[in-house]
Amino acid sequence: MSINRTDIDYISNLARLALTENEKELFTEQMGAILMYVEKLNKLDTEGICPTSHAVPMENAFRDDIPATSIGIERALANAPDRHETYFRVPQVIE
């Protein structure tokens, strides 16, 4: 599986990650090499094998729904790059 610049632009858009020209060039080559390497998985027949999403067998983890205190507005906003009163402020979204 080779990767071209169109793929890189498409993925970087999905990831909301701007890349420099240099990075685009570097990643086109390196991701191509990595994807070639992972092709080896196709040598294995995995027909009928269940996927593992969790290494330790567990049933659904339920707990009692007991109200508890949260960290509070001030602490939640303490790291905000920009805030207005009790809100996170962002650039204008609606014209």
Binding site: L14, I34, T46, A76
Partner: protein, 485 residues
């Protein structure tokens, strides 16, 4: 012997019997950091002032007769653990100004036992790397030889132990990030079974693989610290509700008749001759202690790195979506609207390796490729896990090298990501299988760098690997050889 060379076990008795005060001990560690860290660069943040205040509090509680296991003992944490009121960066520019609003459970449990925090340790950014070279806060140097890497991603956590800057540290292990740096720095690194230790408040990289564990000077300390941090946590629904045994009790048991399996796929051509020699000597030691050495096979080993780099990057691309410049962390200036703010904040905030993994993971999860990459990798993961379960039907534990070579040189592998990834070949399968593993020093290379040995146990078999590791340290001297600095 200097104070800063001692173990938790030794210092606890000294503190309890008032032979030393926590203030004295904490000062000794802080001066040691001041003397060695300009060379090593293990710390991102040193919390000297708070540490001395906490040491004084510890001394007061000791004088009241209250001395818990870690009371007054100075420790440090990988900068991936949230520590309330203390900057927590994950070695990333995107979190350079982030002050954690609450404590991770692992740290909260150490704090409850009286531990004193010296500071936060360097790592690969977001735990992505094998060399501690991917940090926004500079490279950490191996205390055994400053031109070599300390390993990664918990490189600062291992280097701080090797440089005797902290009594014990915590790291995290997603594909070897505790065991490999512990091996490269000549200390003891334990990756518990997935679910044994809570991941609450630990910045997520790949959630189905990440696990918290101790890095210590010896096996006894590893057992003691695991006992503190292990156990069910209502705040992490993947932590397992099983009783926590007294791990220290396992250390005194002998290993006569125990079956130690050697996975033949791990003893390959191309293994560094010094590493091979250390393994041969260790095998002979275990034989002389009455263990039975058996041949086992993990046939899907060759597929582990490929499987890992699909699963880990896919999970990372999802976990790292939260860093968008809106609620915390770095926000780009001069962005043209909300979406552009996200693009630019992420561009400016993430380093190259993190970007590469987000890109790869996003690709693996993208429409039309999910089945071919992520789902395929999850199926192969089942086969890799089954290999281990089959091996554990023939052997009680497995013995392998931690890494194919001792620590490589700084800059040696940065240009070739795939070569860097392949250096984790012996540690990655363990995370995919979710089992436990411990890395202990078992030799020194001809270049004077430490060589580690890995012992792997069944799920929740931490007692067995600690027992075998303790028997090794009782009968060898490798763990007493220290970096000269």
């Amino acid at each position: 012997m200097e104070l800063y060379e001692k173990t938790i076990n030794e210092l606890h008795l000294m503190l309890k019997s008032r032979q030393v005060s926590s203030t004295e001990l904490t000062r000794a560690m802080l001066s040691r950091i001041e003397a060695t860290d300009p060379d090593v660069n293990a710390f991102i943040t040193v919390t000297a002032e708070q540490a001395l205040k906490d040491a004084e509090m510890a001394d007061q509680s000791i004088s009241r007769g209250d001395c818990k296991l870690l009371t007054g003992i100075p420790v440090a944490l990988k900068d991936i653990f949230l520590t309330a009121g203390v900057r927590t960066t994950c070695a990333s520019r995107i979190l350079h100004n982030f002050v954690a609003p609450y404590d991770s459970t692992a740290w909260a449990r150490m704090k409850e036992q009286g531990a004193v925090l010296l500071g936060k340790l360097n790592q690969d950014e977001f735990a992505m790397g094998s060399s501690c070279e991917n940090s926004a806060f500079g490279v950490t140097r191996n205390p055994w030889n400053f031109s070599h890497i300390p390993g990664g991603s918990s490189g600062g956590s291992a280097a701080a132990i090797a440089a005797q800057q902290a009594v014990a540290t915590l790291g995290t292990d997603t594909g070897g990030s505790i065991r490999q740096p512990a091996s490269h720095c000549g200390c003891v690194g334990l990756k518990p079974t997935y679910g044994r230790v809570s991941r609450y408040g630990v910045i997520a990289y790949a959630s189905s693989l990440d696990q918290v564990g101790p890095i210590t000077r010896d096996v006894t300390d590893s057992a003691l610290l695991l006992g503190v941090i292990a156990g069910y946590d209502t705040k992490d629904s993947t932590s397992v509700d099983m009783p926590v045994p007294d791990y220290a009790l396992a250390l005194g048991r002998d290993i006569k008749g125990m079956k130690i399996g050697l996975p033949r796929e791990y003893f390959i051509e191309g293994l560094d001759p010094d590493v091979q020699k250390a393994m041969d000597q260790a095998i002979a030691t275990f034989r002389s202690l009455g263990a039975e050495i058996v041949d086992v096979s993990l046939p899907h080993t060759d597929y582990a790195v490929a499987t890992y780099y699909l699963i880990a990057t896919a999970e990372a691309s999802s976990n790292l979506a939260r860093y968008d410049g809106i609620r915390f962390g770095h926000r780009a200036e001069n962005a043209d609207g909300l979406i552009d703010l996200m693009f630019k904040s992420r561009e400016e905030g993430f380093g190259t390796e993190v970007k590469r993994r987000i890109m790869l993971g996003t690709y693996a999860l993208s429409s039309g490729y999910y089945d071919a990459y992520y789902l395929k990798a999850q199926k192969v993961r089942t086969l890799i896990r089954q290999d281990f379960m089959d091996a554990f039907s023939k052997a009680d534990i497995l013995l392998t090298p931690v890494a194919p070579t001792p620590a490589f040189r700084i800059g040696e592998k940065t240009a070739e990501p795939l070569q860097m990834y392949l250096s984790d070949i012996f540690t990655i399968p363990v995370n995919l299988a979710g089992i436990c593993g411990i890395s202990i020093q078992a030799g020194v290379s001809s270049q004077g760098l430490p060589i580690g040995l890995q012992l792997l146990g069944r799920p929740f078999g931490e007692e067995t690997i600690l027992q075998v590791a303790a028997n090794f340290q009782k009968n060898t001297n490798w763990h007493t050889i220290k970096a000269a600095l």
